[in-house]
Assembly symmetry: C2
């Protein structure tokens, strides 16, 4: 077992999809990541919540052995996000963002967090990502996410942290925006030119692409008759991906491919219900069953 | 070897992409289909051209042993299409359509065409598709394509021919439009409710999905650094798919999956140059190489 550290958001989400609406439920990139990864590896979480954050949510993560030593509880209100999805569920329309305690978040890692083997810098301010990276001994693998807001608004800081990262795990549209390349092959190569040795491009309902060691690997998205809420799919993917790497240790081509599929498996469970509800009733054997179902869906002779 | 019959358009295309522009080059659904399929199986073509159609284009198809007995040469001008693609190459903007001799096309199949084992009804008026189907002895497999124009304008005729077809090979967006289902699983099931036993959904740069015998099969699109012109990709896919079935004969799950990959292989070659240029210099061993490259890109343990 290797140590897996994540920094990101822990949030209260209000989400509306054509299949339902929920108010102030547990969300956030670090939350989805940790819960998904916890099926594979112990996880240490770095984030901040306000004094209003429900104890029940913390208990939920603790029951999965997620280490919350690095979760600050600050004066004020927890980060809140509200969004809505249309029938095609492809893109969230953000209705409201309240940074609250997240606005002044300055992580100071506990001593026990400073030697992770695997580090995931979820989608936060690239300057914060850089600070975190420089508070730890160099991990075996540093992976990161980002979004249009930072690509447009903090390009220089983003390029600085990218130059030190090993892996970028990013949405399709944002990969194109970052690289100014509509072509997948050129976009993937352009990402590597920023520094990373590998890139995973998340394509929502079209699956995920790994580009590493000069090779492409394609995994489909699992075909689900009912997607209730796509929120957290990308972070659950990253949790499954990094968790599988931390569990299995191998970062050769075969290990990376398996990790992409485990990422896709976890993303497919995340969207089957709102918040982390599907995860809370997920049995480990279901993960392996779905892994084999992915294999069955792409195999030909 | 089984007989493969296609009905569709033979056209003169004018295409503009960010990588070049061509005027009145060889195009049309039956053309791309036949040329792609000719690498796998003899093909019989049904279409109409005008008196202005260049002999050189006919010679090109004849050299691939495409049977042109069913190609009518009618008084008037050949069908012309003009379109333009933006940088993302996802969707053609039609600039001009001149039906010309295609407007009055009433196929009357030669006697030698009336017992095909495999029939492909390319994207034409669903009433014409129905007429063709009823001029032949029931083939082993009847596959068809269609488009938004017929889904909107000739819904009833489309449903009539669909109820007699075995396979629908259709674009992503058009599958959603036909079924009113944004969800892939439900859209695939809704297509089968119209009559076909199998559906292939073409997703452009995201590959193709087969739904048959209750199972999904996903093939990616081949990652190309340079896509010069996406025109004809879908018909080349259908040509590779039907050609492979006609060559190999097996329509079990394994045979259908191989056919989807051969379809994807042929589509990937089609887009590497304008018109049929890439096909005219394509060697059979390149097809097998790319088939194996597809396998390498999706395999994991």
């Amino acid at each position: 077992m290797s140590d897996l550290l994540v920094v990101g958001s822990v949030a209260l989400d209000s989400v509306k999809t054509p299949f339902g609406a929920v108010q102030e439920i547990l969300g956030g990139s670090a939350t989805y990541f940790s819960y998904a990864a916890s099926f594979f590896s112990p996880v240490q979480l770095v984030a901040v919540v306000g004094e209003d954050f429900p104890q029940a949510h913390l208990d939920l993560l603790k029951r999965r052995d997620v280490d919350l030593t690095g979760l600050q509880v600050a004066k004020g209100r927890t980060f809140r996000w509200a969004g809505e999805y249309g029938y095609d569920l492809n893109e969230a329309k953000t209705l409201d963002t309240q940074l609250n305690v997240f606005a002044d978040f300055r992580p100071d890692l506990p001593e026990s967090y400073r030697q992770p083997s695997f580090l995931f810098l979820a989608n936060i301010d690239p300057d914060l990502q850089w600070e975190i990276l420089h508070q730890v001994e160099r991990p075996r693998l540093v992976a990161m996410d980002t979004m249009n807001f930072w690509i447009n608004g903090k390009r220089q800081a983003l390029e600085r942290i990218l130059s030190e990262a090993d892996a970028l795990i990013i949405n399709d549209g944002e990969a194109r925006q970052l690289t100014q390349e509509p072509n997948l092959v050129k976009a993937a190569e352009a990402v590597l030119a920023f520094g990373p040795q590998l890139v995973v491009i998340k394509r929502g309902e079209y699956g995920a692409v790994l580009f590493a060691h000069g090779n492409f690997f394609f995994a489909p998205a699992f075909p689900l008759a009912a997607v209730l809420d796509p929120t957290g799919a990308g972070d659950s993917f990253a949790g499954g991906f990094m968790g599988a790497l931390a569990r299995d240790g191998g970062m050769d081509e075969a290990g990376l491919r398996r990790a992409v599929v485990y990422g896709s498996v976890m993303a497919s469970f995340a969207v089957e219900d709102f918040s982390l509800r599907r995860f809370t009733r997920l049995r480990p054997e279901e993960i392996e069953e779905r892994f084999r179902a992915f294999q069955e869906m792409v195999t030909f002779q």
